[in-house]
Symmetry: C2
Amino acid sequence: MRVVSIIGVGMTRFGKWLERSLQDLGREAIWNAIEDAKVPAKDIQVAYVANGLAPQLTELKGTIGQHVLTSAGIFGIPVVNVENACSSGSTALRGAYLEVASGNCDVALALGVEKLFCGDTARSASAMAQGTTLAKFGFMFVALYSMQLRRWMERTGVTKEQFARVAVKNSYNGSLNPYAQFRRPLTMEEVLNSRLVAEPLTQFMCSTMGDGAAAAIVCAREIASRYTSKPSIDIAACELVSGTFTFPDEEHEPIARRAAKRAYQKAGIGPEDVNVAEVHDGMAPAELLLYEELGFCNEGEAGRMIDEGRTTINGPIPVNPSGGLAAKGHPVGATGLAQVAEIVWQLRGEAGSRQVSNKPRIGLTENAGGWAMDDNAACAVTILKK
Amino acid sequence: MRVVSIIGVGMTRFGKWLERSLQDLGREAIWNAIEDAKVPAKDIQVAYVANGLAPQLTELKGTIGQHVLTSAGIFGIPVVNVENACSSGSTALRGAYLEVASGNCDVALALGVEKLFCGDTARSASAMAQGTTLAKFGFMFVALYSMQLRRWMERTGVTKEQFARVAVKNSYNGSLNPYAQFRRPLTMEEVLNSRLVAEPLTQFMCSTMGDGAAAAIVCAREIASRYTSKPSIDIAACELVSGTFTFPDEEHEPIARRAAKRAYQKAGIGPEDVNVAEVHDGMAPAELLLYEELGFCNEGEAGRMIDEGRTTINGPIPVNPSGGLAAKGHPVGATGLAQVAEIVWQLRGEAGSRQVSNKPRIGLTENAGGWAMDDNAACAVTILKK
């Protein structure tokens, strides 16, 4: 298969945009990516569009991608609407990648777009409530997650303070990111004293609802220079798996570890080669768990990693320089592509005041979707190389 | 790219299955396809799953495909959930095709699964109601369609009786199909005198709600014989476009004509080479329009084509031998793959009492999705060769 490069990325600022439509958000991200890639819109031959909840929360019930693309002036091309819960955005990138890698087309667009705010928080929340058996007994996602978490804490000694440190680091990164939903750096005291959601999780450790869009334009590397003079960012791997979210020592191998193994193998690298990463910190503890699952440290060492500041933007392996899901925001379908946009900017050295200082050449995104204690999750790991 | 063969297909009977879940329906279709292909389930490396309305009408809000696959005993592989309104099923096939054609994997599954009946018809109907500007003025899909239709009748002389003849032909075909939702052959009088929906459309000219699932397993042709001794059915083209549903002489080229052009070119054939077709007769008149758009006859000749019986199962170019959407049923996400299953059975000579008599070697499916007078529709044309 051909080498595929990302030649343009773009996004909207994430936030609570009650007055903006899906079309409006998607259009902005698409045209930011088009302008970044310097690609004529007519050269885009196929589009993959990720969205999670529009049919439940907006007036659009289907062919969401076509509606957004038409409003952006792109008409007639094949459009594939994809969904994989919170990993929908990476699933869209994978589709665009495969189209170009296979030679089926030369230029492809991946878009993620989401509006979770609808003026009625209860309605938004219920749109996301999966009707599992456990849910019927009243177990909420966060409650289930925190039960698994407490077991992990007891077994490994990782602490609530270390979780809070993740939120502090990411809120600082988010404060430097003009696209972030939340731009106020938080202190340890603020994170630990914020409203308790489910022990040990406090409000500022958790991502919240967001509206927004993010896009990437990919093309065959051999023709990238027709469009852009910026450094070519190649997709070295874009691997998707399904399975169960687990904590270490549970029955199944953690889904992120499986996805990462496949991605490292495909890219021909190891975790030690990754210079910068955006990971799916739906709750702050997930970032620590992911240090281990992605191989950035050994099992049981994640707490020390955050304590030593190894994942700050000036550390040896910066994680979530964008602010991650909690600070940058988490508009479900857009998240994976916003991670990809951040890594592209970091590899190009275009990340402004949040630019990581280790001159990165290889970046990774990890984007997971699904419900806790559910065997039907998805996880995508993407590796980008300058 | 590699040649891709369909080595197995399977479906449930379409119908009103209030007591069956998405998982239950999907599992049956998957395992019917697996048994047909004689492929060990563990050899399936990726799945594309089409669904239109589960998040609105069932308890599953996301990662629908993972839920269905897990229940079928298939776990851990990449799953891509796709949506393209009524053309979702073909979109799933296209994804599976591209995975294998590109060499990304050897064996892929495409599944379409849908439950439209939820015990409350109003709720089902409203889940499908797109919030377009025209809809807000009270225009319903069928009303808009019938307005365009009457203009077409005036211009070309095609008649309501000819529309009824399509419904009569397809209800007869459906009566021979054990998978069909409706198995009673209708007379001209019954069709013409059934409840008026919107002049000239009567109830029996229109497809209705259905529950069901359909699946196809594809693999690289070079390894097909490892699994099955049945004749290899190759995917000669699987082309998807987006655009506007139009009637002839309107601004845009009809979407089905564009998709068909691309498919014929890719397959290196012309419409005269097609021996059997399944087309998207959401309303009976669409089948006539499609005779012209797919090139089975010249413009203005569709009425004569149905009058002369050229598209019956014993005619030179049988169309909708399965009964089509009105008789076989139309569970949105499953429809495209049920069309594909029918063509595979017809090409293999396995269609029982509805087997077409022209010894077909080339079959075509046309699967369209979207709303009338809307620029955001999708259409897929697939060409299969024995």
